[in-house]
């Protein structure tokens, strides 16, 4: 029995034999190489979807929101479902980049860059839905409190929909700043080793003239820490405010006080699923398995099983409160129109995907299985989409008056719009994966000598020595 320098639970975060230069080669290399066939195919499909989305939205703007299958009873359908779904997905990126930074979780380093990129693209997609839902979208600037000739007539600061405008735009701006300030040093790395003139010029612009001066690094560290500190409550506030869109209303099924924590947990849950989907493909195609290790995948699966279980508890709490509150309307919404009734199937898809299936991640073997993780990530994404659909549509399609009861299915422009945001998201992601360093190079170098495989190996020599001598030596380091 020998003393261990570090707990065996701390797996290396970077596998293989690496030095600083090798890290640069591995991560910057794919940017300098020609993209493969798969990349072109993927980009082509994404751009096609994006074009179809643009067509669907143009159709909607030309004819009005009437082309969507919405009516007076079901005023929100796929559009707002997709909005909440995309915003939620964004949350995992901020959780990884900000909250895990404050908690000093070393494993975030391998995945934070791609996760933050995902956040930004997801919020871009989310933002489309409320904007185009406005119908007369050329009036969209009315949501801003600017001095106008109508009084000036100001916006209603009491409205959660207006809070959303501020929350989403702040979230997008702050995420973008956080992401880009982290990218500056890595763009400088690409610039300094560029072989072609064009690349040197373009990455020169993108890197803002970063040199790696010690003073600049000192300020950069301070900036990252404060931005992380700001983003942490920000990310919690964003989905809280999104949940207020529902919770401050008087619709049975919506006006519950459990919504903010329930929405935030759901957001992180779905976001991590999307991170898994993207990174499992990215690490394989770009050959980054030594940086996004199976340990990283397992850590994220642990977050998925935790948040999935929180979401499960929230579902059960809702059901309990619907009965315990003694409110007829609340009870009917949950037990007759949500868990049963014509849209009841969507409730059970949600329950299966979000609560039952993630429980496989209690088993270590499953958490460390790439194929299981990938399939689960898709299932969770589907489940979380249905959660929003269930909350929105099953609360609306059975109104107080049975004469206005209806069924809801989307029309083609609604589906086209949703597919279009996939196009937008993946077009951005493909371009990111090709032209941006998908892993934070400087941050990996920073942790390399404490968490790199070959550096950890060096400790074995000391550990196999006599315990007393080892303890004595360590005490003097």
């Amino acid at each position: 029995m020998h003393l261990k320098y570090e707990s065996t639970l701390r797996e290396p975060l970077v596998d293989g034999v690496k030095d600083y230069h090798q890290v640069t080669e591995d991560i910057i290399g794919p940017i300098e190489a020609k993209p493969g066939k798969l990349w072109y195919i993927g980009l082509f499909i994404s751009i096609s979807l994006l074009c179809f989305g643009i067509f669907s939205v143009t159709w909607e703007v030309y004819w009005g929101t009437g082309v969507w299958n919405l009516n007076k009873t079901i005023g929100w359908g796929w559009d707002i479902t997709n909005f909440v779904w995309w915003v939620g997905i964004g949350h995992a990126g901020t959780l990884i980049s900000a909250i895990l930074l404050l908690f000093r979780q070393g494993w975030r380093t391998g995945v934070n860059r791609a996760a933050e990129a995902m956040t930004i693209f997801a919020v871009m997609c989310a933002g489309q839905f409320p904007i185009w839902h406005m119908g007369r979208v050329w009036m969209a600037f009315f949501v801003l409190p600017y001095p106008n000739t109508r009084g000036p007539l100001w916006v209603n600061f009491n409205s959660p929909l207006l809070w959303d405008v501020f929350a989403i735009s702040t979230y997008f701006t702050v995420s973008l700043l956080f992401w880009y300030s982290g990218l500056l040093p890595d763009f400088a790395t690409v610039r300094d080793r560029a072989k072609t003139k064009l690349r040197k010029y373009l990455y020169g612009i993108a890197s803002f003239g970063w040199t790696g001066s010690t003073k600049h690094w000192q300020r950069h560290e301070s900036l990252s820490l404060v931005l992380a500190g700001l983003s942490t409550p920000l990310v919690l506030s964003v989905h809280t405010i999104v949940s207020f869109d529902f919770a401050t209303s008087v619709i049975p099924g919506w006006h519950t006080t459990i919504f903010p924590p329930y929405f935030v947990a759901g957001a992180i849950f779905s976001g991590f699923a999307m991170v898994q989907t993207l990174l499992i493909i990215t690490r394989k195609i770009l050959g980054l398995e030594e940086y996004i290790t199976i340990g990283h995948v397992e850590a994220m699966n642990k977050v998925i099983v935790l948040t999935g279980s929180i979401v499960g508890v929230a579902y059960l709490t809702e059901l309990f409160m619907a009965w315990y509150s003694g409110s007829r309307y609340e009870f009917d919404t949950f037990y007759k129109f949500r868990a049963a009734g014509p849209l009841g199937w969507s409730y059970w898809i949600m329950m299966t995907c979000n609560v039952l299936s993630p429980q496989v991640f209690w088993f270590k073997k499953m958490r460390r299985n790439i194929m299981v993780t990938f399939i689960m990530s898709i299932i969770v994404n589907i489940g979380m989409w249905f959660e929003r659909f269930v909350i929105i549509c099953t609360s609306l399609y059975r109104d107080y008056i049975p004469s206005s009861w209806g069924y809801y299915r989307p029309s083609w422009p609604e589906v086209g719009f949703y597919l279009g945001t996939f196009g937008l998201f993946f077009t951005c992601y493909f371009l990111f994966a090709k032209y941006f360093p998908v892993i934070a190079v400087a941050e990996i170098k920073h942790i390399l000598k404490t968490s790199g495989h070959n550096y950890k190996e060096k400790m074995v020599k000391y550990e196999t020595e006599d315990n007393d001598k080892f303890a004595h030596d360590q005490a003097h380091h």
Binding site: F157, N158, T211, G212, T214, K215, L227, P233, S237
Partner: protein
């Protein structure tokens, strides 16, 4: 902008760099800067740099956001155009909290990033001299400015003795500060005392 002469020494290990920085400083040479591919903790202290106050600036921007949001919404709802919205109070403080919080974060983040960019003189199309192309890859590059009192050969020999792997001499314009970098310094070519005297 001043073109100056520098002796550039590159190190390949931060464990060698640290004592080297201390020795060079105590020998009295003027370290222009040390360029590293990633933040090396403690290097700023070793170089004798003071702590940054960027976070204090962030706090000030933050409270500016708080007051802007609170005072603007209060003014609109109580003074400029008091409206009856479902009989709710004209000054609903709880309803102001979300936007107040968001603007606090927005002001703090945007303000800090702008300040950071100003202080470090970073912007698109800004081009700065790179002393060694591998300073953003795997080398730690110590740049020593030659003054009237230092001789290049002596500095080179000293850098070699403290463990620099690659040493050279460069005569460049190292940086600028909105056009007034080192205003008090004379151009290298205009100095009366030759450097290698």
């Amino acid at each position: 902008m001043a073109v100056k002469k520098f002796v550039v020494g590159s190190f390949d290990d931060e464990a060698v760099l640290f004592p080297a920085v201390k020795k060079v400083r105590s020998a009295g040479y003027k370290i222009h800067d040390v360029y590293t591919p990633f933040p090396v903790h403690g290097l700023d202290h070793a170089m004798g740099l003071r702590e940054t106050s960027l976070h204090t600036a962030g706090f000030i921007y933050g409270i500016t956001g708080t007051t802007t949001a609170l005072s603007f919404m209060s003014w609109v709802f109580t003074t400029d155009w008091p409206m009856n919205i479902g009989g709710k109070p004209h000054f609903p403080l709880p309803a102001f909290i979300p936007i107040t919080f968001e603007l606090t974060v927005l002001f703090a983040a945007v303000g800090m990033v702008m300040t950071f960019m100003y202080l470090c003189q970073l912007a698109p199309f800004v081009k700065k001299h790179v002393f060694h192309p591998r300073q953003s890859d795997d080398l730690f590059v110590m740049v020593i400015e030659l003054t009237e009192k230092t001789r290049a050969e002596e500095v080179k020999a000293y850098l070699d003795s403290v463990g620099a792997k690659e040493i050279n001499e460069q005569e460049v314009e190292a940086g600028w500060w909105l056009g007034r970098f080192d205003r008090e310094d004379k151009l290298f070519s205009q100095r009366t005392t030759p450097v290698n005297a």
